[in-house]
Subunit: 311 residues, 3 copies
């Protein structure tokens, strides 16, 4: 659930892209685009403390948020909840409330459990904002936003004619869910989803999407291929036979990419398993927008922190 006013440009927390009104989503993308083009706001959050509170570790996402906070003039603090007092038996909510009581106004929270970030946001005091940096399999809204920004930069603002395919372990992916929510909200012409049956969700996540297990078919004529990371634990769980099998069936190679539109772009949220879901040739090739995604990540997080912490 996103908690927000419906009419203004601002909203209080960013928890998901599913319920976020589309005008808010577009407002963030517009502001992020300005930051991506070099806009500066070095005093926007002067005197504001922003804490990255990660109950599940992720160095790259944390770093991206820290840079965004610093570039807005905020104090940046880190609480690695995966290794600290949480292990002393404190509840997540007490950890959150304690840091909140210290005067921290912005929280960037990652948690392995679905809904855990929203639960903390629901308990936040007035004036305190929570940004979901990934919860369980559910939501990773800033990843969704940065993917949309990357798409817009390559393909323009009108998504109605676009064909986009998301490939891989959609079932366990909060990235995929946030991308689907955002693509729907922005009126993407065709959302295709491709992966082995064992890695496709069996709920209504993909309502309205074209779902297939055949990557060659899925790539036909697309404007963008969004590759997902294959977590190696899927092998141990028996959901994937081997990395070799997965690569053969679902790895994006230069040959396969020729099925896509000539100007199709390739995306990946990182970190990449080169040689598994994507080859070097594609990852480093001219159609890759993978490093643009990373750059856009900082811009999007600046825009989000600015919106939720200034109003």
């Amino acid at each position: 659930m996103s908690l927000h006013a419906d009419t203004s440009a601002s909203f209080r927390h960013l928890l998901d892209l599913e319920l976020l009104p589309v005008h808010h989503l577009k407002h963030v993308l517009q502001r992020a685009q300005a930051f991506a083009e070099g806009a500066q706001a070095p005093q926007a959050l002067a005197g504001v403390a922003v804490c990255t509170l990660f109950f599940e570790p992720s160095t790259r996402t944390r770093l991206s948020f820290q840079l965004a906070a610093q570039r807005l003039g905020a104090y940046s603090l880190n609480f690695d909840a995966s290794t600290s007092s949480v292990t002393k038996g404190e509840t997540d909510l007490d950890t959150f409330r304690t840091i909140e009581a210290m005067g921290v106004r912005g929280f960037v929270v990652r948690h392995k459990s679905d809904g855990a970030v929203a639960a903390l946001a629901a308990a936040a005091k007035a004036g305190v904002a929570v940004v979901n940096a990934g919860d369980g399999r559910s939501h990773h809204p800033t990843q969704g936003l940065l993917d949309m920004l990357t798409l817009r930069q390559a393909k323009g603002e009108d998504f109605s004619k676009l064909k986009v395919v998301i490939v891989g372990d959609v079932k366990h992916s909060r990235v995929a869910r946030s991308d689907v929510h955002a693509l729907r909200a922005l009126g993407c012409g065709e959302i295709r989803v491709c992966g082995p049956a064992a890695l496709l969700p069996d709920d209504d996540t993909l309502h309205g999407c074209i779902v297939t297990e055949d990557l060659d078919a899925a790539l036909e004529g697309v404007d963008a291929a969004m590759m997902l990371r294959l977590q190696r634990e899927r092998m141990a769980e028996g959901l994937v036979a081997s990395l070799e099998d997965y690569h053969r069936d679902y790895g994006l190679t230069a040959a396969r990419l020729q099925r896509a539109a000539a100007d199709a772009i390739v995306m990946h949220p990182g970190p990449m398993n080169r040689g598994v879901e994507i080859t070097d040739e594609v990852a480093d090739g001219p159609q890759s927008r993978i490093l643009n995604q990373v750059a856009n990540g900082v811009a999007v997080r600046m825009a989000v922190l600015e919106v939720v912490l200034t109003n």
Copy 2:
């Protein structure tokens, strides 16, 4: 030992509350109250580097000091001595002197051994200040100060009529010792201490306190109940039979709290073991000042850092 001039408002290090002259203690509380009410000093420590040097991990205390340092304009650095070069066999003193030689002027030090922080302070160069963030079972002066600030906010500056009870594992608690030192210094009317015999100190720590194993009696008419965290290793050590037994005899419940004065406040240094030393009803109830303590912690640490680093 506290090293300080006796007459000025300033002192060089903050190592304990036992030997700190009461006018210094009151000066810090007064300045901390100003910070708690919103006073700002964003340039007070501009250009000064403050390092949290923790030989024993504690995320929440570290974070509180970091926020305090940042709000005064200091550079904030962290050296987690529990996981770094110390493991290469370097002495604590060499670690301290090395960071000191880098130009760090403020040290916030936690150590598992009694007296270890004072030993480093004794070796400090001119112009360098050490704040004890907890050593062994001995001292945790900023916790004592923030507890006193919380008491003052609730009960006024005159402690002579106050009855305060400290409950729990007093024997192993630097928080309890620092609270007793501070309550004595501020002329608290009655200091009660309550816990099972195995968790009460057998030295002269509690000189002048009313000591009992009976929590119901100890709570009778008190103005404040300061609950201590029960470390789970006390079970392994055979000092406590079980969490259930401990909760039955020494857990603060809403029913028990009725024995205290009607306007009594409840305090806890955190992190809490809910359902062990304190129930949810009390921790989250109207008499709880637990989150006020956390907020006061930043204010007290700002005041302490300002005093020891500006003169």
Copy 3:
């Protein structure tokens, strides 16, 4: 390999002292001396993000660079690659490019493999600078620079009459290699190297040096003794019989130090194994410059970051 323009005062990366033109080396030392004497440049790197990217942990070097970056007004970020997404199978180059894509312009990189830092530098985008904070056994250029600064402060700028001895595990030491490169570049009169045969390099590292296994002879008349840390794993590897044997043959004692010039200085890169390669009496004695080295480390790193990030 150092990548640099040959004529200006600036160079792009600092990877080693072997190929760095001597006028660059001297320029850095001159600027570092100014910082050591109190020069300030609090806005030199305002708005620039500097990331310490350590594939091999080192708290003290990281802290020294962080302080240097902060004192120049940079944003300071840390990516501990020894514990993060690298373990998810990402290549070092992808990790580097990802942080680079976030807008980080300065990288301080440590790596356990020889040449790994230079490989990342070769891939850096225009405008991005890499400083080698130690790679394998090869290079640790800022350590070499801070050692030279310390020597200059004690002995003046003309090294042509100086006799310097480096003692210990030269074979595995990037510190020793960088010191030899720098001493050669600055025209040191006599470079002696001393250690047990098993800890001396068998390649051409020591070309032009006087090499001996006899410490008493090696110390005769030297102006400076640079002691190296003995890594304890050398025992497990069978390269050293015992700490006691090593100390007897290669430990610097006050008695042995008398063989050196009366005003000889003693240096050690830290952390020290007191009682092994150096005694307390020497480490803490009047000829020790060990803490000066640490202080000079921040000054040198300020100078290096300023040079590579402003042009």
